[in-house]
Amino acid sequence: MAGKIVIDTERCKGCGLCVSVCPKKVIIISRESNRSGYFPAQTDDIGCIACGHCAIVCPDGAIEVYQGEVDHIQIVATSTKRNAPQLIEEKA
């Protein structure tokens, strides 16, 4: 079972607590800033086990965690940056 996290980059303030607690070290701090000027966390999810530690320590409630088969993960990610929800579809 693979995990997937969705980070709301507009809520994220780049404190890096998720980076420090991730047991698989799959989260990094982005090089591009968000609209508030913070450098948000980002991930490619490879190796994520959906333990949820990143979401538990996140002070801004910016992380959602999902668990499922890799080839069927389909998530609707909303961000304050865009008006309409953006559909991300992944296929293995």
Binding site: G3, E10, R11, K13, G14, C15, G16, L17, V19, S20, V21, S36, Y38, A50, G52, H53, A55, I56, V57, C58, P59, D60, G61, I63, E64, V65, Y66, Q67, G68, E69, H72, I73, Q74, I75, T80
Partner: protein, 244 residues
């Protein structure tokens, strides 16, 4: 696909004004999750403090009132006595509860008011610029103790929870921390228990003290601030279930 973690709707969908890595965001979320799990959103009244959490009513989707500095337990007393079927909690920082509001919290506990108090202890006055609070650690450098806090001039860290645990009017006192994922889960359990006691009509005040990071005024990176709680703060403020 299974959802492991999703933000609770009791926490409003707006970014907070807190600094990056601030513990208030975590504490707000724990409160919101507990309120959702206990299904008491429509009958909960929160009392916001003066301090960094002064705008807590912008983030928690329950009825809230903002009161004068330190007076949250006094207002909560009136709220609970006039609305006995409602769940009343106050959310206070250490500058609010342990400094200017010492009389109010002491006498609310002394009168055995049926309230839940969430006490956020970050060992400094965060809102006003990181000055020394009564809960500041010995040797801790703040804006007003540049050489570190000395017991001879500035006294010792005030352990409010230990004092309140001695009073017969408190039913439950626990000190938790936000320094790691397991600690945060434990803090959530403590908050839930405190609310549950009030819902069950326990005859007294329930208080949960939460050791919370203030990376900005501790001059530490957020991850190091979490480690500092574990290494330093827990020596003066041991994590324990003090009563109940």
């Amino acid at each position: 696909m299974k959802t492991v973690f999703k933000r609770t709707p009791v926490l409003k969908d707006c970014p907070t004004h807190y600094c990056p890595g601030c513990g208030h965001g975590i504490a707000h979320r724990l409160l919101a999750e507990v309120i959702e799990e206990l299904d008491i959103q429509d009958r909960t009244i929160g009392i916001a403090p003066v301090g960094c959490a002064v705008l807590a009513y912008n983030y928690l989707d329950v009825d809230m009132i903002e009161v004068a500095h330190g007076r949250a337990p006094a207002v909560a007393t009136g709220m609970k006595r006039t609305n006995p079927d409602h769940i009343v909690f106050s959310y206070q920082g250490d500058g609010d509860l342990a400094a200017i509001g010492t009389a109010e919290i002491l006498h609310a506990a002394h009168r055995a008011e049926q309230l839940t108090v969430i006490f956020i202890n970050n060992a400094v006055f965060g809102m006003t610029g990181g000055q020394m609070a009564p809960t500041t650690m010995l040797g801790q450098v703040t804006a007003t103790t540049l050489g570190g806090r000395h017991a001879t001039g500035e006294g010792y860290p005030l352990q409010v929870s230990e004092i309140l645990a001695l009073l017969p009017g408190t039913t439950y006192v626990e000190r938790c921390a936000l320094s790691s994922a397991p600690r945060i889960k434990q803090a959530k359990k403590a908050i839930k228990h405190a609310f549950q006691l009030q819902m069950d009509g326990a005859p007294g005040l329930s208080l949960v003290e939460i050791l919370s990071p203030c990376p900005t005024y501790w001059r530490l990176a957020p991850a190091k601030a979490m480690a500092w709680i574990e290494e330093q703060m827990t020596t003066a403020f041991p994590i324990a279930r003090l009563k109940g």
